[in-house]
């Protein structure tokens, strides 16, 4: 929808990028180019500290015309882009040392490619290609893409986003294409699936951005502009350019802004229509009719976000019994008790409840997204907890299911096993807590409790198969983290490949379940006998179980076997890592005033397994 002058004046009064973004998305508004530029300037005046991201673009069609849309979309995501366009064409020159692209050292590199440029067979209508020849063409096509991506991957450290321009015309066989044995659409979707699979398994930090998804979202006629294509070799309408830009900046935002981890949900008029305390279980809107079906759909979307790795928590002002009745007994309630990692259902203030949820989950408030319909609650949270992202549920039920679609921090670039099992892990943690409480009541000590868990730690070294989880740990861990150095998958792959760098990780299992990989340490060896502890971190999920000491001592033992005699370590204080302030001195490091210290391995009594309530396993220890 176009934005009228009157609507535009109203947009110029919004006070935050998120508010503007939600508004545009919900009302399906597409600004004109001058409107987009003006809105970007308005946002620039509102936000003083935008995160700067260097974007590199490799392209075989005019990419410079995307700039105003990329910049506008970046501003909506609280980013500021520094864009570099490589010289026109797919050549490997862009990947040479000292090329303009390499010197720009982009944090995100966008590849705008066309099928025609990647394989000459696509310069003719594909329906004319014999089925028997397709395999060979496909192989060559994929090798070309792979070669280009590998060359760039080798020289660039940031995320690569690969796009291949869909055909602006409908298939050569017209409407019959879907039925045809030599269907073009089917062939193309298989090719894309193969490419995506290669990117996922053979590279790190490379993603396929499927432009066909965007075409599906807004329609082919709204996506492509044939006049600009023929006259300027620029394929997109403004709406298309904005859709591409949004996909790119969302990826940048999900990689470079603080990771969102928790979606804190209000209940009345958010998960269902109406107020449970007044309307009762049979009176709330949730079911097969309007408006209840919109709320059912919203709950389904929330469930997919949970499957994407986000924790759902309840933060509502209700009588716990009323709310529980809906969770347990309402026939159309999608989100059940087990889907919530934690709950605060009481009459305390929402900011207080959010703070206590953050404490229970051991997560920072800046990883919270708060979702509520009430003006009052939203502004209370905005006001007292500035680090929480507030999304106000729209008042029109039909707009509710999509209200989180435009939140870039809910996009992910990888999905790990730990993400999928996160909620279960938090519920195991609650069971551990009740076991601890039960034991404490009978007068047992904390050591008895730890022993009763039957913990088993598995320590691994230089394992490329866990790259995405290891990188995720460096990106997400803020509290138990000595140096808070963030590494991309690519960075870690390089470290693992380097013979003087040791990348250790561990996972921890017990009677209640397996934590997945929760700890990471990186050791850089300078000379034969000396080494630096570059990174030592642990997920807060396993704090308080002596896992950090057991992990450190397993590493020290292994380093000693490798001939390392002295280990120096740094503590880089941040606003969030006070927790590890005394970790180095507590573990025998001689610490100077700045918090850094050295440990002589020869002179230190290194613990054995029996000193910890944990059985340590893993390939290192054989």
């Amino acid at each position: 929808m176009k934005i009228s002058d009157a609507q535009f004046d109203k947009l110029l009064t919004v006070q935050s990028a998120q508010e503007l973004k939600s508004f545009l998305a919900q009302r399906r508004m597409v600004p004109s180019l001058p409107q987009a530029n003006t809105l970007r300037q308005h946002l620039g005046n509102l936000q003083n500290s935008l995160k700067k991201i260097r974007l590199g673009i490799v392209h075989t069609y005019t990419s410079e015309l995307l700039d105003p849309w990329l910049l506008f979309s970046a501003a909506l995501n609280q980013l500021d882009l520094d864009i570099y366009h490589a010289p026109y064409g797919v050549t490997l020159q862009a990947a040479e040392a000292n090329s303009g692209l390499v010197n720009h050292s982009p944090e995100v590199t966008l590849l705008l490619l066309t099928k025609e440029d990647l394989h000459p067979a696509f310069q003719k209508p594909p329906a004319g290609i014999k089925l028997a020849d397709r395999q060979e063409i496909d192989n060559q096509f994929q090798r070309t893409v792979q070669g280009l991506v590998a060359a760039l991957r080798d020289k660039l450290t940031g995320q690569l986003i690969v796009t291949i321009l869909p055909s602006p015309a409908s298939p050569g066989l017209g409407m019959y294409d879907d039925m045809a044995e030599n269907s073009e659409t089917l062939w193309w979707s298989q090719t894309k699936a193969c490419l995506a699979n290669r990117f996922r398994t053979e590279f790190s930090g490379v993603g396929l951005l499927d432009l066909d998804q965007l075409v599906m979202q807004i329609g082919r006629d709204s996506f492509f502009d044939s006049r600009l294509w023929y006259s300027s070799t620029f394929p997109f309408t403004s709406q298309g350019a904005l859709a591409v830009s949004n996909a790119v900046t969302s990826t940048a935002a999900s990689l470079h802004l603080t990771k969102a981890k928790v979606i804190a949900l209000d209940a009345d008029n958010t998960l269902w229509g109406g107020v449970i305390g007044e309307d009762g279980i049979n009176g709330i809107a949730l079911g097969k009719e309007y408006p209840g079906r919109a709320f059912v759909d919203f709950q389904k979307r929330l469930l997919s976000l949970q499957q994407r790795g986000f924790l759902l928590v309840l933060c509502s002002k209700n009588n716990p019994d009323d709310l529980n009745e809906v969770l347990v007994d309402h026939p159309h309630q999608v989100l059940k008790t087990e889907h919530f990692a934690a709950q605060r259902v009481n009459w305390l203030s929402k900011p207080d409840n959010l703070a206590s949820l953050a404490e229970e989950l051991n997560l920072g408030l800046d990883s919270f997204i708060f979702v509520d319909d009430s003006d009052h609650e939203c502004s209370a949270v905005r006001h007292s907890l500035k680090e929480v992202l507030v999304v106000q549920v729209p008042s029109r039920p039909a707009e509710i299911p999509g209200c989180l679609d435009a939140v870039a921090r809910l996009e992910i670039t990888a999905l790990t096993t730990e993400d999928l099992e996160k909620t279960a892990m938090y519920s195991q943690e609650r069971q551990r807590k009740s076991q601890l409480e039960a034991l404490t009541e009978t007068g047992s000590s904390i050591d008895d409790y730890l022993l009763s868990l039957n913990m088993k730690m598995t320590v691994g070294l230089n394992d490329l198969s866990h790259l995405s989880r290891l990188s995720q740990l460096t990106q997400k861990t803020n509290q138990f983290n000595l140096t808070t150095r963030r590494y991309s998958e690519q960075d870690l792959a390089e470290k693992i490949g380097d013979e003087n760098t040791f990348v250790y990780h561990f996972s921890l299992g017990d009677n209640f379940g397996d934590s997945g990989i929760v700890g990471l340490a990186i050791i850089e060896r300078d000379s034969g006998e000396k080494a630096q502890l570059d990174t030592f971190l642990m997920s807060c999920r396993v704090i308080g179980r002596q896992a950090e000491q057991a992990f450190l001592h397993t590493i020290l033992r292994d380093l000693r076997v490798k001939g390392v005699e002295a280990l120096s370590a740094e503590y880089i204080p941040t606003r969030k890592n006070v927790l590890v302030q005394s970790f180095l001195p507590d573990n025998g490091f001689n610490v100077t005033v700045d918090g850094s210290g050295d440990l002589s391995l020869a002179g230190t009594a290194i613990h054995t397994d029996n000193d910890f309530p944990i059985i340590i396993e893993g390939p290192l220890l054989q």
């Binding site: 409107q35 530029n37 015309l65």
Partner: protein
């Protein structure tokens, strides 16, 4: 607001120059930001702001404010 004033504000926002940088006699060679990319942006902006669907052949002809004003008049834009 006259058609020129509207055009002026659209062009200024599109090229990201001050409004008074666009005069009734401005042309592609008199404004630095009005280069070949800027020109495509102006064409897109004109279509969006005045509800037009322009012909590619017109793009090259509309290289000055007088030419654009004349075109808008011929399209009965007021």
């Amino acid at each position: 607001m006259s058609v020129f004033e509207k055009l002026q504000s659209i062009m200024a926002a599109t090229l990201e120059v001050p409004t008074n940088a666009i005069s009734e006699s401005s042309a592609m060679d008199s404004i630095e930001e009005w280069d070949s990319l800027g020109h495509v942006h102006i064409m897109v902006a004109l279509e969006q702001a005045f509800d037009l669907y322009m012909d590619v052949d017109d793009f090259a002809k509309l290289d000055s404010v007088p030419a654009i004003l004349q075109y808008l008049e011929s399209e009965s834009v007021s």
